[in-house]
């Protein structure tokens, strides 16, 4: 099965957008509570993209980011990424109490800082996923989130493996989080939700949408 714009209807695209909306909405609330800051989110973007295009959406293959990756297990398996630009990761660490040293150019990274970023990914993806699970009544549970601070191409390439066995394209549900002022202190992250190809039918069916062809 290969995806193309043709075999997915506009109502199905809208459903996927709504999934991004609900999931990221809950995650944004969680982030806002965590940082005590107002967080805005973009209208989710649902796109059928090649792997190269997806990597470009996250800032190009060599862009260095803190990426949290997790597998979604349960009724509708898939992959999820939360990608945070490195400067943003530094800002996040600084917002936390306890003066954790973290400098993106210095290896090895502070253990506590890495753990904090992992926990950030954990909280955000957990809230994304549990709202999605409530909404679809599907049982979805996350694997332990894994953190990698490296080139986007290398991080996303790994998460695309499951899909790459069946297709050269992925349906990406992308939601950006911004803080309200859009200034340099903005929290500016991306959620990418990549349901496995066979999960689309399950999701659509759970929501009572006509079959995915």
């Amino acid at each position: 099965m290969n995806f193309s714009e043709k075999n997915i209807s506009s109502i199905q695209l809208d459903i996927l957008k709504e999934i991004g909306n609900i999931g990221a909405g809950h995650a944004a609330t969680a982030l806002s509570t965590l940082l005590n800051k107002k967080i805005d989110m973009s209208v989710p973007d649902v796109k059928i993209v090649s792997f190269d295009e997806m990597i470009d959406m996250a800032g190009g293959p060599e862009n260095v980011v803190a990426g949290v990756f997790l597998r979604i297990e349960g009724d509708a398996p898939g992959s999820m990424f939360f990608v945070l630009p490195l400067e943003q990761a530094e800002i996040f660490i600084r917002e936390l109490p306890g003066n954790i040293p973290f400098c993106a150019d210095e290896l090895p990274y502070d253990e506590l800082a890495v753990s904090a970023l992992q926990e950030l990914g954990n909280i955000l993806s957990g809230s994304y996923l549990s709202s999605l699970s409530d909404f679809t009544k599907l049982s979805l549970f996350p694997s332990v989130p894994m953190l990698s601070i490296d080139m986007v191409g290398a991080i996303i390439g790994t998460g695309l493996l499951e899909i790459s066995q069946v297709s050269d394209y992925a349906i990406v549900i992308d939601t950006a989080l911004n803080d309200e002022l859009q200034n340099t202190n903005a929290v500016n992250g991306h959620f990418f939700l990549l349901p496995d190809p066979e999960s689309f039918q399950i999701i659509f069916k759970a929501l009572g949408v006509p079959d995915y062809e």
């Binding site: 490296d150 080139m151 069946v166």
Partner: protein, 165 residues
């Protein structure tokens, strides 16, 4: 002067070739493996950005051959030969195959990096192409750039000095 050089970019699950004066590059290799095949006397090189070890993993019959180690290497060899390389003079340099995330779940796909490297080596061995340099494994992403004139492969990683093999 370097900025005048033509740089051929190879995307994920893609391949291409380059002749002097030019460079060929692929960015953001994680668990993927970058395979460079080159004929130094013809000053021609090809690069494939491989994602998966074996085309038998493909769940449908029509697939992109550059994605799999076995099919990509064979296709790259014939592409190079069509463009003036001689099979007996081909050598290889490989990089990538890192494990980007620490192993946690039972998914076999998580240790795809080492499997990709194994598959690439096996295929090169069966085609009797010598591997003259490699930088594989580890936990970091790599960007690689090859010069078909000098036969040098430059490898960049985040927060580390570049390596030339």
């Amino acid at each position: 002067m370097n900025s005048l050089l033509e740089i051929v970019k190879v995307g994920i699950a893609d391949m291409n070739i380059v002749k002097t004066p030019g460079l060929i590059r692929t960015s953001g290799l994680g668990s993927c493996v970058g395979v460079v095949l080159y004929d130094l006397s013809a000053e021609i090189a090809g690069l494939a950005h491989i994602m998966l070890p074996d085309s038998s993993l493909a769940k449908n019959t029509s697939f992109n051959s550059a994605k799999y180690a076995d099919t990509a290497i064979r296709d790259l060899v014939s592409l190079l030969m069509k463009n003036g390389a001689k099979a007996s003079r081909l050598n290889a340099k490989i990089a990538g195959g890192a494990q980007m995330f620490q192993y946690s779940s039972g998914s076999d796909l998580m240790r795809i990096g080492p499997r990709n490297v194994e598959a690439v080596k096996k295929e090169l061995y069966s085609l009797k192409i010598a591997i003259l340099g490699e930088d594989v494994g580890g936990h970091s992403g790599r960007t690689i750039e090859f010069n078909p004139e000098s036969g040098e492969l430059v490898i960049r990683t985040v927060n580390k000095d570049k390596v030339v093999i």
